[in-house]
């Protein structure tokens, strides 16, 4: 009997972490990155009003944040046309994913996701002892029909679907998801990860009532709103489910300045529109760079572009390694067959110039 005695579940968990951050990579490499295009951060940054709001809020940083995030919820509820009772705010989508899994998944419970989808979701499922059933994508798209059918087959309590998808950048029309919902089995909750939805074409977000008990949607200020370092995400769902988060969440876990910043960011939809235009231009540039190198950029409804390197995973891993050696922080899909691709976050002109310069050499090295 040693100090301390971990639970059996904890003892069964691997020591590995879902993502190695760029700062950790820089320290391992012993060199900084020249461009940061690997974590789908939004280099165009938050609204100046959000920066001002966060700066102004620092004077009050001696106070805990509002445990109910009242002002932010009010503003979101007006913006989304839902009630505040449909909203829970958390420490980014990652934090909310952990809470949601904890609400539903006990050891042995079945969960369905796509093979190669968001690793941090899988991390939380494993962390609570859930059994993951992973389905292949349908080409470069997640497959809602197959996911929901699998959920029925394995009696899943939770099924994960990202729309748009990360790491492939693909998307479904909202109506496609709405139709597929008919196949979602009783007792299975659809977790719809909409982290990138602001970047997607009109109609990508399905018209699901916020009170629909079959679905919880998650969104964030980390991507389109450019505040990844602030850690503010939110979930939209039926009031009973939303209330359940209060049984377990870290009630005073949110940074007070970040709460103020998210509110101001939401209120500056002009800035958001500018960001979307910049991201769209950046996507075109990345696709252009890919094409000039004889590669195919996949269509993207996100702030990144996934590029098919035209061969197998080993080839793409060599391309990636060379890009990293050339001081570019980039990542690639983990699972076959998508590991034939690399994934480039949208960047400024200067960031993309570095990528433009580095890609030919990376391909040459990978082919050598």
């Amino acid at each position: 009997m040693s100090h301390p005695r971990y639970t059996d579940l904890i003892l069964s968990l691997p020591a590995s972490v879902p993502f190695v951050g760029p700062e950790v990579q820089e320290r391992t490499r012993g060199a900084p990155f020249a461009a940061r295009l690997g974590a789908n951060e939004n280099v165009f940054g938050p609204s100046p009003h959000a920066l001002t709001a966060m700066r102004d809020a620092l004077e009050g940083i001696w106070q805990y944040g509002d445990s109910a995030s009242f002002d932010l919820k009010e503003a979101l509820s007006a913006h989304l046309d839902v009630t505040p009772e449909n909203l829970v705010i958390g420490e980014g989508i990652d934090g909310l994913l952990g809470y949601l899994v904890r609400l539903l998944i006990a050891p042995g419970d079945a969960v369905v996701t796509s093979d190669g989808a968001y690793p941090t979701f899988n991390y939380h499922v494993s962390g609570f002892g859930g059994v993951l059933h992973k389905l292949p994508y349908n080409g470069d798209h997640e497959d809602p029909d197959a996911l929901f059918a699998k959920a029925a087959e394995v009696d899943a309590k939770l099924v994960y679907l990202a729309n748009p998808d990360n790491p492939m950048g693909s998307w479904h029309e909202g109506d496609t998801i709405l139709r597929a919902l008919d196949m979602l089995p009783e007792g299975c909750l659809l977790l719809l990860d909409e982290a990138y939805v602001e970047f997607a074409p009109e109609g990508t977000a399905p018209r699901i009532a916020a009170d629909d008990p079959r679905v919880i949607r998650m969104r964030t200020f980390s991507k389109a709103y450019g505040m990844a370092g602030a850690r503010i995400g939110y979930a939209i769902g039926a009031p009973d489910l939303i209330r359940s988060f209060d049984k377990i969440r870290n009630h005073f876990g949110l940074n007070r300045a970040a709460q103020a910043g998210a509110l101001a960011a939401l209120q500056d939809q002009d800035w958001l529109a500018q960001t979307l235009a910049r991201v769209d231009a950046s996507r075109r540039q990345i696709a252009d760079i890919a094409a000039k190198n004889g590669l195919i950029a996949l269509p993207s409804a996100t702030n990144f572009v996934t590029i098919d390197c035209g061969a197998d995973g080993d080839f793409a891993r060599r391309v990636l390694a060379s890009l990293v050696n050339q001081d570019l922080f980039v990542r690639m899909p983990f699972a076959a067959p998508h590991d034939r691709c690399i994934r480039i976050s949208c960047g400024r002109e200067a960031d993309l110039a570095l990528f433009r310069a580095a890609l030919p050499k990376a391909l040459a090295e990978a082919r050598a």
Copy 2:
């Protein structure tokens, strides 16, 4: 079979939350508080250097924070004379408490604490299905010997002890805890909550080796460093235990500006010294106000003063209600016999002037 299917544990949990925040109270009351003396926040605020560091970090808020909190850990390890492997940084002590309980406590596992000690710890224990054994204080002090004996009796995996204590403000000399440690049973981890330790007399922190597998200590930037709204806490423990947090924690859960602010706050020990002097002066003023009203202020090693109202819990609750009605945010101990007291956080002259003016009326109303 409804949507969604919660775990049995979640269904068993109450909807109540450990603390109702002051903003929530203000909305319920329909009036703002004139002084905020209820949450042991540090109204003297963070070092100006910390404010500058957070302001400067906002430019980079589009990036996730460093998942390893490398710079902050390096600085803390130098400051505390421990290795970075002895440190984990989290979303305040509250966040770390949740992670620690999850590491150790499965449904039915025994945990020992004092009756009336930190409710958020109890919240997490219940949230993971642990069985709480609550011991009475010894007078106004937690009782390490009794806690550890109880831990042996019930085969506890975890025992909670705060030093200094909240809500009583009392403390033990470090050597007292060190001696009691001999009675800590095998297989039981001591969670030593040192949230207030910077305010305490020299010698209050026991000289326990960071590698000692029997103990984990938790500290925070929320109290003496004046950054409650930033959400940065840390734990000091044996490397194996510290590494275990990486199996479950929200790796990218910390606000990037808060990480920079905590680093700068730590590096400004002159500001900390000024804060401690201000807090000490404020404690004396609160004790003086109590004495002038015929009440006894308990000795405090924290940034609050617990005042014995000289009667029972109902009386103190009436005093508290009147203070709240007079627009003072204050709280009181939850459990008898300590609910004979009210608890006043240290404040500025203006805050204490309001308390000085309100207390006689509150006592008169309570006696009426």
